[in-house]
Amino acid sequence: MNARPIVATFVGVVFFLPLYLVLVNIFKPSAAVVADPAGLPFPPTFDNLAAVLNRPDHLFTFGLINSIAVTALSVTVLTIFSAMLGHYLARSRHWGAKVAMGTLLCGLMIPVPVIMAPITTVLKWFDLMTTLQGLVLVNVGYYVPFGVLLFTGFVKSVPLELEEAAALDGANRFRVFWQVVFPLLRPASASVTIFLGVWIWNDFLTPLIVLGPDSGTTVTVGVYRAIGQYQSDFGSVFAFMFLATLPILIFYLALQKNFVKGLTGGAVKG
């Protein structure tokens, strides 16, 4: 008698309970949430979801647009910058490269609250406070060590002979990098995109402070702003959260497959 599947399923169900409560209560009217929180939503109502999409203050829709713009821009710039920097540092034999690498690795452990106040000062120098561009730049600076860490590790698995061959064929460094090296780094690019995409989408403190209370927010900060207004109307809060999470969840699930394919497809071997 094997108890493992029963125990595993039981533990999994208990663990999943909070998420189950969210999923069922989105589709219930407020009264039913309080009366019967764990019951299935029959008949389901879509009022909660519709209310979030049709908010008069557009907290969700504007937040969604901001989140997509900030995440997409940050991740794109981060992938390009950290691939170039990671490749440069991995290949350079100059002592300065080691110093730069060490300094970048220190940045991996610095918590955001420690540097939040000076970050706002730096943004004010460039007049970028409360702008999406400012938020993108902060993300790029803060997450570049993580990108570099992943890319340098991966660059070492790309044979130097490939780059030499391309250089001998007359390609300059720029072409060697973009046409030979970068395509081979695809698995690293995929991991950087997945990790940073999820982290930046989910970030709370940085957009909360950088974008400020008056201008628009990201959807994640929008969830925080929404709970103050809904108080204990859990159905509406859950609907907001669900819609705010859905895009990044789809992104994660879609890319995760790609990522596994990239690792197993022999892309590294060239």
Binding site: P5, A8, T9, F15, F16, P18, L19, L21, V22, V34, P37, A38, F81, M84, H87, Y88, L89, R93, A100, T103, L104, M109, I110, P111, V112, P113, V114, I115, M116, A117, P118, I119, V122, V138, V140, G141, Y142, V144, K156, E163, A167, L168, R173, F174, W201, N202, D203, F204, L205, T220, V223, Y224, I227, S232, F234, V237, F238, A244, T245, I248
Partner: protein
């Protein structure tokens, strides 16, 4: 590793041709400017310069609404020693960090061993445990707030079961901090599960079989075969959780805002942000931030080195 295995002659001969060739198009400095500078400038502007400013500001009484700013030396740090709010934040942070590190590691290891089977059911369950790791801590906080608040889903259920006065999970000053720690554990559990599963899959079958033939029981096999092989996974999980605990902010901000009562759930990160952006005492907040950074740096370097030494010695 691979570099040390290469014959030294080839390493010496290698860099010459491409370097000379590319030099025509992009001299060394240009290459640096093109490839390295963009990332380095962004990092310098938004991490290095702010670190320097935090260090400098911690030696001043900077408050944008209360000029003039003066250099006060180490006075902020001396004030920290007698600051009871700081002491409470430090103790709270240590409690939260200790709880999540122990619970998520123990729970994560047990669940990983439970799910260490290749069939569909277990793969699905891994996904279940990993889901909260992908969600925002704001979302996690709101879910648990709805469950644990006084008239929330848990207490409604408890009342339904006949409990007249269910606990105030988030409103009882003696309980709220533990509720926060529990919520963080729930979110980080899946991370530990995945790391331990990867570690378990690296334990060679033959080792366990050999130990089994030699007469080792399940417990002995775990202690002497599996557990030593999990040392790298333990290192990752412990360091990750210690750092997560020490920078805990989101959950406090969303769920309790430092309350109930007098700062019963204030963590160091929360105090740093409140002092800077609510009280506007940037100078004092910078000293707090510097202490917090020192602790995180200590964990990252000393604990990491200790655990890695343990990996090697085993």
């Amino acid at each position: 590793m691979t570099q040390t295995m290469r014959p030294p002659a080839r390493v010496k001969a290698r860099p010459a041709p491409p370097r000379r060739r590319s030099g025509r198009f992009l001299p060394g400095l240009g290459r640096f400017a093109l490839f390295a500078l963009p990332g380095l400038v962004a990092y310098a502007l938004f991490v290095l310069v702010p670190i320097g400013m935090t260090a400098y500001n911690s030696l001043t009484n900077l408050n944008p609404f209360n000029p003039p700013t003066r250099f006060v030396g180490l006075r902020n740090y001396v004030s920290l020693l007698g600051d009871t709010e700081f002491r409470q934040a430090l103790v709270n942070t240590i409690i939260v960090t200790a709880i999540i590190t122990v619970l998520a590691n123990v729970g994560g290891l047990l669940i990983a061993m439970l799910l260490d089977r290749p069939t569909r059911l277990y793969v699905l369950l891994r996904g279940v445990f990993f889901t909260p790791v992908v969600l925002s801590s704001v979302v996690i906080s709101v879910i648990w707030q709805a469950i644990l608040t006084d008239d929330g889903l848990l207490n409604s259920a408890l009342r339904g079961l006949g409990v007249d006065e269910p606990p105030g999970w988030l409103s009882d000053p003696g309980l709220a901090l533990y509720s926060i720690a529990w919520i963080m554990t729930w979110q980080m559990l899946g991370f530990c599960v995945v790391v331990y599963l990867a570690g378990l899959q690296g334990v060679p079958r033959e080792l366990n079989e050999a130990a089994s033939i030699d007469g080792a029981g399940a417990l002995q096999r775990f202690r002497n075969v599996t557990w030593p092989m999990l040392a790298p996974a333990l290192t990752i999980n412990v360091v990750m959780l210690l750092i997560t605990g020490f920078k805990a902010y989101d959950q406090v901000r969303v769920i309790t805002n430092g309350g109930p009562g007098n700062g019963t759930t204030v963590t160091m990160a929360f105090q740093v942000v409140q002092t800077a952006f609510v009280s506007n005492r940037i100078g004092y907040s910078s000293a707090l931030a510097a202490v917090m950074l020192a602790i995180v740096a200590f964990i990252s370097v000393v604990v990491l080195r200790f655990l890695q030494k343990r990996e090697v010695s085993q």
